[in-house]
Point group: C2
Chain length 199, copies 2
Amino acid sequence: MLPRSVEKFIEVFSKLPSLGPRLATRLAFYLLGGDRTTLKGLSEALQDIQSLDRCPQCFFIKENSRDLCPVCSDKERNNGVVAIVEKETDLIALEKTGRFRGNYLILGDLPERGVLESGQKLRLQSLKERVKKDHDGKIKEIVVAVSPNSFGDFMVESIRQEFKDLTEKVTRLGRGIPTGGEIEFADEETLGQALERRV
Amino acid sequence: MLPRSVEKFIEVFSKLPSLGPRLATRLAFYLLGGDRTTLKGLSEALQDIQSLDRCPQCFFIKENSRDLCPVCSDKERNNGVVAIVEKETDLIALEKTGRFRGNYLILGDLPERGVLESGQKLRLQSLKERVKKDHDGKIKEIVVAVSPNSFGDFMVESIRQEFKDLTEKVTRLGRGIPTGGEIEFADEETLGQALERRV
């Protein structure tokens, strides 16, 4: 009953994360009901991001007219400190704190089984080569800024092994009660860590 | 820090219903992280629906190569019965039941104050003219299939007034306990209606 193009729209949009067929249908009719400016704006936005590529150093997205992303090309930053994160959005979250002035390496989501994919291994390899080439074989610090769970713990150990001659230290993010969090509702592990790491 | 095109993407997508900046950001990186086929598919889907227009009779969307939508052009249907609905998705929901074989008029979301907008008045006017022209001035039934609330009640009364010489009857959807619903949790109004309309 629906025009083929609307069915197609619902099909492709419902595959996006957090969308699903119901919301995709709603979106379709929202767009068809509004003026064509919104529809055109979305269409252009989708086209414009198609020309982006990745920073060869940290693997964050960048304009393809530039060699490096804004973080890696910023000479003011301390490139002897590298934070390894899973996702672009983790990098953005760390940048928003304004408290980290090092560089990054985006690794991609850690696989559930803990074994890195070949693409992720290549990214770590590229960091090793960069350390050897640009830093006389040793940087100051690697911050493994991955989410604190068993995969994350495993990851920290792997990095510690793999980079043992290439960095002075491997650190991870502090663990404890989040700001605004309530002690009463903190799980035992978090509370235990908060006790051990009290300041 | 983000490329301009990504900021633009987040800006336009976060204005869509149920999306917001957080999900729009997640979508952007999801699309940038995946292969370009998804991105292209979405872009094409958005372009393809731009050429759709509205059925001049019921105001449902239709291919612009056709004169009427599939429902209105279906000769097997009883066009002496017209269901007035608010949204396209309401029409789809009614069609899915397979139990309505009449035609439709999509009115658009009822305004909160109960006063119809000029576009909605024009749609009702077009139905009146159709009744006069194609049905010798009278159809069998108008089903006011709007959500059961005070605006809906008001709407039913307006339609009853406006079409009093143009339709044999004006009906509305039955009210009562939804299938699978529990009597214990039904609100008083619903339960009252269910009692009054017991079958």
